[in-house]
């Protein structure tokens, strides 16, 4: 793509202001994701009695739309981003409420809703939209005297948290909480409150341990591998061992035919077995690059809303990657969380594209004093 500096079209302006390094890193992650989808999902599909390329077709068919959406969103102005986020958030919350009425129950949780033949997971879309919205609320409180931004953010957070826990989707609640808390922290929350909220968060995890039996069993199994079935995690670890430095080659692995979630939560193990250590380190490096480069660029940022929103979106992105890889590597209890752009899942892919679109749009280079809204 060659755009003259003098070209004043939307596309040209976008090209010269968007962070092309981040764009490239995301592109590479997507490429890894496509490769692993082709390698891992046929085995899973076969086990479920579907035709081998069922998941490949669905995921790769959706990919162009998702990427197009990300690029389109990244061309929006900060004001448009905020509006889209608000609309998206309202719709997501409404759909989230609807899951309790018309949602399909899968594996003991009501998370999915059927819309025109697609099953959609509204909670995925809550994450990026709420991050943008909360960022604006926190920023506005500090910009406009008398505006109760913090209070609204707290109320909205509690509503979202309540809905997520009712489903129940503890993993999602954890990510939303972490993002919200980080934003609040960045917005200058007094240290006493930081400590208090941190303690409260820890207490909530302890409470989840006692309230949700599946959370308790996962934590138990992590703490004491002998207490229960650790088949998944030990199989995953063996996959890394089998892979070695260079892997067995794409499609040559065996874990995908035994691990139930090889295409989603345990896709990193497939990567370890088939692509090897070096490729896995590259994947980790790409995620770290996107997050840390984003943070470093934010240090120049003059606008608090943009700083909070981008930081929130990056925290969400990075945290999901860390939790997914960490649980596959037995660094933490297994938590059903997708590896961004790599795990199979339509809702996750679309929501991440939306979120990264927001992030790219907000982090575009701007000129001026920081009055962007």
């Amino acid at each position: 793509m060659i755009f003259a500096r003098t070209d004043n079209s939307v596309l040209s302006r976008w090209w010269w202001t968007v962070d092309r390094w981040t764009l490239m890193a995301i592109g590479l992650i997507v490429a890894f994701g496509a490769l692993l989808t082709m390698a891992a999902t046929p085995a899973v599909a076969e086990r479920l009695g579907l035709e081998p390329f069922y998941f490949v077709k669905r995921q790769l068919g959706l990919l162009p739309f998702a990427l197009a959406m990300m690029l389109a969103v990244s061309m929006l102005s900060p004001r448009e981003v905020r509006r889209l986020a608000l609309v998206g958030f309202v719709i997501s919350v409404v759909l989230l409420c609807l899951t309790f009425v018309i949602g399909a129950e899968i594996k003991g949780a009501r998370r999915w809703i059927n819309i025109a033949g697609f099953s959609l997971q509204p909670s995925e879309f809550v994450k990026p939209t709420f991050a943008v919205l909360a960022a604006w609320l926190f920023a506005q409180q500090r910009k406009q005297e008398g505006f109760p931004g913090d209070l609204i953010a707290i109320v909205l957070y509690l509503v979202v948290l309540g809905l997520l826990l009712r489903q129940p989707d503890v993993g999602m609640a954890l990510v939303v909480s972490a993002v919200w808390f980080t934003q609040f922290f960045l917005a200058g929350l007094r240290l006493l409150w930081v400590v208090a909220l941190g303690a409260l968060g820890f207490a909530s995890i302890v409470a989840a341990y006692f309230v949700f039996p599946h959370v308790a069993s996962r934590i138990n199994r992590f703490m004491d591998p002998n207490s229960g079935d650790t088949y998944q995690i030990s199989t995953a670890l063996e996959a890394f061992l089998n892979g070695g430095l260079f892997g067995r080659g794409p499609g040559e692995g065996t874990v995908k035919s035994v691990l139930p979630d090889a295409h989603a939560d345990f896709v990193f193990a497939v990567a370890g077995e088939e692509l090897g250590l070096i490729a896995c380190l590259m994947i980790v490096g790409l995620f770290a690059f996107v997050v840390l480069r984003g943070f470093i660029r934010l240090l120049q940022e003059q606008n608090l809303f943009i700083l909070l929103a981008v930081a929130g979106l990056l925290v969400q992105f990075g945290l999901q990657a860390l939790v997914n890889m960490g649980s596959t590597l037995h660094l933490m209890p297994t938590k059903g969380m997708t590896l961004p752009f790599i795990s199979y899942g339509g809702s996750s892919l679309l929501a991440l594209s939306l979120g990264m679109g927001f992030m790219l749009a907000l982090s575009r280079r701007r000129y001026g004093t920081g009055e962007v809204l």
């Binding site: 922290f185 200058g188 670890l237 061992l241 070695g244 370890g272 896995c280 943070f295 930081a311």
Partner: protein, 565 residues
């Protein structure tokens, strides 16, 4: 400084004030962003390090791989070995062929190919199996590696192998009644295999029996020869180590191949030593005589009237080849006088007789590490007439094992030791309880030697090995009646009688006399010669030196100081 700054702020115009705090807020946000970034960088580093750890450094990985086959081995059934470590039963890994008919393309063709490759496969039956709409059918269990290779070479889709274990008995028939066998799923169905089923499944150590495969072999050879010679329908033989109570050999014929037990008729699985109950006949006079001596009612020289038969209710008790005179206790034992035995028993009394036999374990099922154990047939109530016939071994039926255990206590100095098929460890004390005095035991040894030296057991003698024992011939009871010409002929003895080491028992079921025995099928003619051969072979096997029987010291040990005519 802080107060001065806030004072200053208060006097600034509103717009500037907000800008000032906004700058401060941004500053705070940047500081905290750095902290958050550092945390993320740390977390990514940890993930990367862990990745390297589990992929290439993982030291826990290697034992995991190495442990897996070991765990599999431990699942196998433990071996059974003899007292010298010879393998009697072991488990081999084999492959069993099964099919997923849904994946078989041409069932008829596949079945035809399999029938040509594997023995015992019926093409029609297999084709029906392969055409069924199940997703799992066994084709053949336990293939040899060659068969597995050949099936693989057929290249039929839908056939699979299941790794299995196959129990193998290298000695086949030789230990079949002792070791027993397992079913196709490796569970014990008979013998030690059944008695120690759970233990064998859990243990990683082999189970060591007291059996000496060499003794087992010679016993079976001699017993089979005698059965053949006298056309018996079966027989049994045992050798017991008198010092420990361990069985060195236990053979029952006919027997079966433990590798393929269903090939033999079911009656071949009958262990005559532990499951057969027979009237012991004259061998039981060992206990009648020991009883009279031990209670002190008789001495070897005490004489009893054996001039005429005893009539009791409708029975007449007479002697086989009777002497028709008064006989001493020694003569009664040597000539096996029924009349004399009854008179000795009458001196002891019915109650004391019952108590004495109970002491030797004749009134309840014997205890041994086999599931195939029968209880004796004991009269109830124990009337006078029962007591009289029991004195010479009739009216009671016991297993050969009980006779062996009881006789061992008679000759070993008077200690009843539990019999076992499991090798005793050298360091553990051997349990036992005194049942008769050492003096009675010594007298019984002399009497048993006398039987072989001068009485009915002469053919059991082996020069230099001081064999002693007692013969017994009893007519078999069939449907509650004694059957003429179908006998149980047996001999129980020990050697060398001056310091007995081994107890030897042999029995023939329904032997027929032949020319060499002048038509006789009594124990002295058909079993005693077999005992002689067994003793000489065991003596050679264990390297026991013969003694000079004319040496005064030896003679004194076994001399019966009673005139025997």
């Amino acid at each position: 400084m802080a107060t001065r700054l806030s004072d200053l702020v208060r006097y600034l115009p509103a717009r500037l004030r907000i800008e000032g705090t906004a700058k401060q807020t941004l500053e705070t946000a940047r500081h905290r962003l750095v902290i958050t970034g550092i945390l993320f960088a740390l977390a990514f580093t940890i993930v990367a390090l862990r990745l390297v750890d589990v992929t290439v450094l993982k030291d826990a990985g290697e034992p995991r791989l190495a442990r897996a086959p070991k765990a599999e081995l431990q699942m196998g059934r433990a071996d059974i070995i003899d007292r010298n470590g010879v393998l009697l039963a072991t488990s081999l890994a084999t492959a069993s062929l099964y099919a997923n008919p849904k994946l078989v393309i041409d069932p008829a063709d596949a079945a035809a190919k399999l029938a040509r490759t594997l023995p015992g496969i019926d093409a029609k039956e297999t084709a029906a199996k392969l055409a069924s709409d199940r997703s799992f059918v066994w084709i053949k269990r336990n293939l040899t590696p060659r068969q597995q290779y050949e099936v693989n070479r057929l290249g039929i889709p839908g056939l699979f192998f299941q790794r299995e274990e196959h129990r193998v008995y290298p000695h086949g028939v030789l230990t079949s009644h002792v070791v027993g066998f397992t079913n196709i799923d490796n569970r014990g169905l008979a013998g030690i295999e059944q008695y120690y089923d759970e233990w064998l499944l859990q243990s990683s150590e082999p189970l060591q029996l007291s059996i000496d495969i060499r003794v087992q072999h010679l016993l079976r050879e001699e017993l089979a020869a005698s059965i053949d010679e006298f056309q018996a329908i079966g027989g049994a033989a045992m050798v017991l180590d008198l010092a420990t109570g361990e069985l060195l050999g236990m053979v029952s014929l006919p027997d079966f191949d433990a590798n393929n037990p269903s090939q033999s008729p079911p009656e071949n699985r009958f262990n005559r030593n532990t499951l057969g109950v027979y009237e012991p006949g004259s061998t039981f006079k060992i206990f009648n005589t020991a009883m009279a001596l031990d209670y002190g009612v008789s001495t070897l020289a005490t004489s009893y009237d054996a001039t005429k038969p005893i009539h009791v209710s409708r029975f007449t008790i007479s002697d086989y080849k009777g002497k028709n005179r008064w006989l001493s206790v020694a003569e009664i034992f040597m000539y096996s006088s029924n009349i004399g035995s009854v008179r000795m028993m009458l001196d002891v009394g019915r109650e004391r007789q019952r108590e004495f036999l109970d002491r030797f374990g004749f009134l309840k099922a014997p205890t041994i590490e086999l599931p195939e154990v029968a209880a004796p047939l004991v009269p109830s109530p124990w009337r006078d007439v029962n007591a009289m016939t029991i004195s010479f071994g009739h009216g009671i039926s016991v297993t050969p094992l009980q006779l062996v255990v009881g006789t061992a206590a008679i000759v070993n100095g008077g200690i009843l030791r539990p019999v076992t098929l499991i090798k005793r460890r050298g360091d553990e004390p051997i349990p036992g309880e005194r049942v008769i005095s050492a003096r009675t035991s010594e007298q019984m040894r002399k009497l048993m030697r006398l039987v072989v030296e001068k009485g009915s057991g002469k053919s059991a003698n082996v020069p230099g090995y001081l064999v002693g024992g007692k013969t017994g011939t009893a007519e078999k009871i069939v449907n509650g009646r004694y059957k003429k010409d179908s006998r149980i002929s047996s001999f129980v003895g020990a050697f060398p009688m001056n310091a007995p080491r081994f107890l030897v028992y042999a029995m023939l079921d329904e032997p027929k006399g032949n020319k060499s025995t002048f038509g006789y099928a009594t124990a002295g003619w058909v079993v005693a010669p077999m005992i002689s051969r067994i003793v000489s072979r065991i003596a050679a096997l264990y390297g026991i030196a013969p003694v000079d029987e004319t040496e005064p010291a030896v003679r004194d040990q076994l001399l019966v100081n009673v005139a025997v005519r």
